[in-house]
């Protein structure tokens, strides 16, 4: 395939959105003013066909962020070398401005479990996660960003605070961090901590990208609120507040609107992207309303 002309790879310090094929026609027709598109790497691991044709067309016009959801960096099993090779190939072909993965596991002896599962935070897992990130960065040939998790349970074994764990991983491996502000708010509710205190402790200077999404609500056995990282609805007001707080501290940053389930039509999604740009501008004008 001939290489088409492309816009430059780096992500602008503004809002982008997760690419959904059902929006492709609207995007090509309207050429909306969106900072970048993010894709789940696993959806583009076929050999050819419409997914790659769409992605080539998208990449010609927009910077791209490559987001893996299946590498299982936080699991006890060795990383899947074939999967690393596929990630490397996508990086080479599409020249994304950023590449990110999760502090989570999803594969074990039974197979691939298709969810971002929680990792105990201990000295043992810290060493293993660092080893897996070094292996990933070497295989893919670039620095990656590691995303803070969204969890529903904690482990009795955990003895390192999450913010400290992430800071140490970044220090040892040279990776950057992807700060999912919705995940902070989800976990704050699920585990009963103050999200602002979490952000105070978070190594914000290492953040290369921000994620924003909506969550769903349920109850646990004890009757406590249980927040579920559903990516199925608009960003919550408190998450916007936390986002403005982060931007006021670190400046404008590539920011993704994630909406993966009950995906709305393009104008609605584009509206959320616009809100994120507006929120960042407001934060930088120091007009931050103290909603948190």
């Amino acid at each position: 395939m001939t290489s088409a002309p492309r816009v430059a790879a780096p992500l602008p310090r503004r809002a982008g959105v997760g690419f959904k094929p059902e929006h492709f026609d609207a995007i090509m027709e309207e050429r909306p003013d969106v900072g970048f598109f993010e894709i789940h790497a696993e959806n583009f691991m076929g050999d050819g066909g419409p997914p790659h044709r769409r992605l080539e067309a998208l990449r010609a016009r927009y910077p791209l962020s490559l987001h893996g959801v299946g590498l299982s960096i936080g699991g006890p099993r060795p990383l899947d070398r074939a999967h690393l090779a596929r990630l490397a190939a996508l990086n080479q072909r599409y020249e994304p401005g950023l590449f990110s993965e999760h502090l989570a596991w999803s594969s074990h002896d039974v197979g691939f479990l298709d969810d971002l599962l929680p990792v105990p935070l201990t000295g043992e897992t810290l060493a293993l996660v660092c080893q897996h990130i070094e292996e990933t960065q070497e295989a893919v040939g670039r620095r990656m960003l590691l995303e803070n998790p969204s969890t529903y349970v904690r482990f009795a074994d955990s003895d390192i605070p999450e913010t400290e764990f992430l800071r140490e991983v970044a220090k040892r491996t040279g990776c950057g961090l992807l700060l999912d502000v919705n995940n902070v708010e989800v976990q704050a509710g699920n585990h009963g901590f103050d999200p602002v205190a979490y952000l105070d402790a978070f190594p914000l200077e290492l953040v290369g990208e921000i994620h924003l999404a909506g969550y769903a609500e349920a109850r646990d056995d004890a009757g406590h609120e249980l927040r579920i990282d559903a990516h199925d609805s608009p960003v919550r007001p408190r998450v916007w507040g936390l986002y403005r707080l982060v931007i006021s501290r670190i400046g404008a940053t590539p920011t993704l609107i994630e909406w993966d389930n009950d995906v709305p039509d393009w104008p609605t999604l584009f509206g959320e992207v616009h809100r994120a740009d507006e929120a960042a501008r407001a934060a930088l004008r120091r007009e931050m309303a103290d909603v948190v």
């Binding site: 395939m1 696993e42 959806n43 691991m45 076929g46 050999d47 050819g48 066909g49 419409p50 997914p51 790659h52 044709r53 959801v69 299946g70 590498l71 299982s72 699991g75 006890p76 899947d80 074939a82 999967h83 596929r86 596991w105 999803s106 594969s107 074990h108 002896d109 039974v110 197979g111 691939f112 479990l113 298709d114 969810d115 599962l117 929680p118 105990p120 201990t122 043992e124 897992t125 293993l128 529903y152 349970v153 904690r154 482990f155 009795a156 074994d157 699920n190 585990h191 009963g192 349920a218 109850r219 646990d220 056995d221 004890a222 406590h224 249980l226 579920i228």
Partner: protein, 250 residues
Amino acid sequence: MSFETTIADFAAALTDPFAPAPARTMGREGRPDARRFGVYRNNVAVGLIKSLEARYPVTRRLVGDDFFRGMAGAYVALNKPKSALLIVYAADFPDFVRGFEPARDLDYLPDVASLENAWVEAYHAAEAAPWPLAALAEIAPERLEALRFAIHPAARLARFETPAASIWSAHQGEGDPAPPERWGGEDVLLTRPHAEVLVRLLPDGGHDFFSSLRSGATLGEAAAPLIETGADPGAHLVGLIEAGAIAGLA
């Protein structure tokens, strides 16, 4: 407790719907919480069932959402993806459907599922330019018999005892289509010469003709059975080329 054991226990409880939440996990009360752990178990099952729903939309329509969810859930419980490459997951679901007792009377159902799997394979197959008909015209007639062809990477061939392709085709639009008028077997060719997957029925003899060419037979060898029955191999070959099943000369 070691990390290895913690994760092994977690994985085992995820895949056993009757297992309690793992002992080393906890909610805000500092003890295991079934509803919290249930979010993970539900995510795994629902996520994998959704990938079957996406791969087998007509199979799902034919049996209805509830029946399909039950059948897909039974498959998912027994078959986890081997890797994160979900676009190849559940390629063997048609075999599972064929052995699924509650669907035993629906003889067309595994055939339709098989067609849908072939469609997904053709959709994701490597790009290749289809061999143009004009290239055939440039070949000297005396050379034709010895030709061997390179098959297009997206081309898929299937033989069904039921009218699976007619059923599949009738369910591409809205509504509740009537069963096919002619209830018999169908030979099907799937191709993707450009962006779109094409599905077409092959005429009598077409299945074996393409199958021979795909196995590396010369045009003369593949054409011999057609000639015996009085069929025109040229028409069959032109049909394959027009469908985009041929990528070039081998």
